[in-house]
Symmetry: C3
Subunit: 331 residues, 3 copies
């Protein structure tokens, strides 16, 4: 049954995890790779076929090939980064996920509407620097991989620093003092279940190096370099799980096409009073799942196999094929 | 043989680990859950049965039911937190562990006597703020999950801050500059062996977020939000293991009922001279074992199966039943 | 076939990993242990035999015994630390690895020549404190386990602190602001493949505790106490892998005896612009592989078994024996 489709993705982000998971579930696999990365990816025997591109934005040129090969695309962070929202929506090759979600995720106002409707606690948002009365985080729109953020302790510092900020399209959020926790979920439209797959804490440069250099007054930056596996205090888990469920339920009401399904991530900050603030949603597999290619503490509770989020996606497609419900998972 | 008992615990802390481990060892499982957490725990198929309570302190009311069902309780951090020391000692349902240990663990003076007798290095203790001559950590008695701590750089700061500290029942300890390392042990009364199961570093809010916010002079707090898996420098391991053994040996002499057995944790700080200070002992399974539900680097050395601390407990009970020695592990 | 040799090492560093891996691949195992650590190591059943020494430097006295027992030594960090470079080169017992590499690794000038030839980006080196124009890291030669480092913000601070630095044999390197990432590789001389095995971030005392103590102006130190498992942003992996390959290729040209093979580690710092600086190479198994005794996210991609770096070494020796090529892997 799984021979019907080839699982395909771009060579970046979580591609190794996705294709290894696909192979473990019995699918043929295909990678769209930059020329310079091809020799690296070729060392992994679970990648059956590689199509070379000179840039990921060249993707539309090879799309026809993928359709002929019965490829199913598993989108990850690099898809939005390189093809843009519109580029993703225009794809004709079968695509795991609901493309209607892209508009809600890609627009900060709509994202906030979605999460607030789901009764997810978010940091306060400031419409203008003048209204700022506390520490804030300023985020460039479309910032990828943590690049394009800055912190300001208050209005004065904010106004000074915003002058030299390259992007004029930004959001000002209350800065929540706490620790970042990224929770990885998977929602199955076929079984209706929402699972916690794993959790990570990002490893960011240079901010996670600053504690090592006392009193140097260096400017923090937030470029993601890697990920640490973590587990979450169990007394918080029921609430964390319920947050994921509410996000799914609300998406069914607000968003067409059945709402969000598949892997997603809530990027939270947890305060010393154990209050969970959600900063953002990623409506797809996140790189924070990479520590768990061989399974996570949470997936080990549910599966007798090493169940990465990438593999979980393949499992869902396999089930959809078996039940003749590909239409429910492929956009 | 394992059908003789149901393994039971409260739905919090390490309940998922404990019941998954019990099921892997062939036991039926039972969870005592708060109403609002029931739907979460119900998604885990290794939990055979759930008894609902409106608060964990309501436990005595359902104890009779548990006895009838042949439940064996595996106590974790929430037991002391919600039932209190006396509440634990009064339990009539079979209970994994030696309740005589509770008095020694729950009283800071007795705990210090125990550890010092075991030749465990501890931070200096100050009887009164007046005697303080170095940085200190002030801990509220009965602080749970890291809440209710503060640091003071010296006598002056201490005296100022102690005025507004809500709890008048506190301990003043020398603050050891170093890195926290929590070591998880298991001692088998049946085989006499003490094993290192795993190690973690707590993830605390907001202190583990402060390095990310330069020069804001925020007050650190120590609420545990999660755990990072770590491994310990191998040249320290023989000493770390010996510390665990000495704690067990000394407990046999000082404490009735055969002393401490089962899972326990030494919360240490290791200095840059590789000196290991022990801050506290937890005489039961700790949440720091949760990253290792699928096994740890240390348990992978010993077992050909995924051996969490929760599962190790179930394995011990199974062995006790097989050898007709339940009396040696159940209090 | 694996019965031909016993795998042996010193009881420290990565010994548990190495001998567990050897046993998993079917080899008899032997440990050279300090007297006081013997009872610890004896609890691990995969260690078949222990030879006791009062100090690792006593090793030459027992070497004849090891030769008679057909032992193959797997060197780790403690070998250079305790026997010295010359002590290692004089060993007559079969030794996994190419001893010609020791001279290139042990001398900072030759190491730099090697890495620069491999087009590895390194921090700028300063020949004299007078030339320093930026933050620098000062390293004692032969510093082990992270002890014997200090940071200086500029020339003035450097000159003041160098006066009281105990070791007059030191290196001054540009301090790269970023996050440390240690990448563990394995190169097989038999298949010609270079693999990424895993990655870690060291856990160092007291520097990794300083973020927890605000405004105390404590002197950072860098004693390694343990290791955190991490994964690396996938878009960096092809470059990371290529770095390892270039280091191997260059070693074949510069170093006799076929160059570097087996496990090695590049100790890098990654900046917020995702530029990877390599601080140092370790031409053997590093302690950062210990979180992965049960396999890593990267080894899980390649192997259907739990493949630690220690086990990977044993696998290579097994293959060499099978192909009659022991001469290619044993020095």
């Amino acid at each position: 049954v799984e021979q019907k489709y080839k699982i395909a993705t771009f060579g970046s982000h979580t591609a190794l995890q996705i294709l290894k998971g696909a192979k473990d579930e019995g699918f043929p696999t295909l990678l769209v790779s930059l020329k310079e990365r091809k020799s690296f990816y070729r060392t992994y025997p679970f990648i059956d076929e590689i199509i070379e591109v000179s840039s990921f934005s060249q993707f539309p040129e090879i799309e026809e090939q993928l359709i002929e090969k019965n490829a199913v695309i598993i989108p990850h962070g690099s898809f939005v980064a390189y093809l843009g929202l519109e580029g993703n929506k225009k794809l004709k090759v079968p695509y795991f996920g609901n493309k209607d979600v892209l508009d809600w995720e890609g627009n900060r106002e709509k994202q906030r509407e979605w999460l607030e409707n789901a009764k997810i606690t978010m940091p306060k948002k400031f419409d203008s620097p003048d209204k700022v009365d506390r520490p804030v985080l300023v985020k460039s729109h479309g910032a990828k991989g943590g690049y394009g953020y800055f912190l300001a302790k208050g209005k004065k510092e904010l106004k000074e620093r915003i002058k030299s900020f390259p992007d004029k399209n930004y959001t000002i959020q209350e800065y929540i003092v706490g620790v970042p926790v990224f929770v990885h979920y998977f929602h199955s439209p076929l079984t209706g279940e929402t699972e916690i797959m794993s959790a990570d804490r990002r490893y960011e440069s240079n901010v996670d190096g600053l504690g090592r250099v006392p009193n140097w007054e260096l400017e923090p930056s937030y470029t993601v370099i890697g990920n640490f596996p973590i587990t979450i205090r169990e007394s918080l888990l029921p609430e964390v799980w319920d947050m994921g469920k509410r996000v799914i339920e609300t998406s069914k009401e607000l968003i067409g096409g059945g709402g969000l399904f598949g892997p997603f991530c809530l990027e939270t900050v947890v305060t010393n009073e154990q209050k969970i603030y959600t900063i953002e949603i990623s409506a797809r597999i996140v790189a924070g799942t990479n520590p768990f290619i061989g399974g996570s503490p949470y997936s080990d509770l549910k599966y007798n196999e090493q169940m990465s989020t990438g593999r979980r996606v393949a499992k869902e497609i396999k089930l959809a094929i078996k039940e003749g419900k590909e239409g429910e998972v492929l956009g």
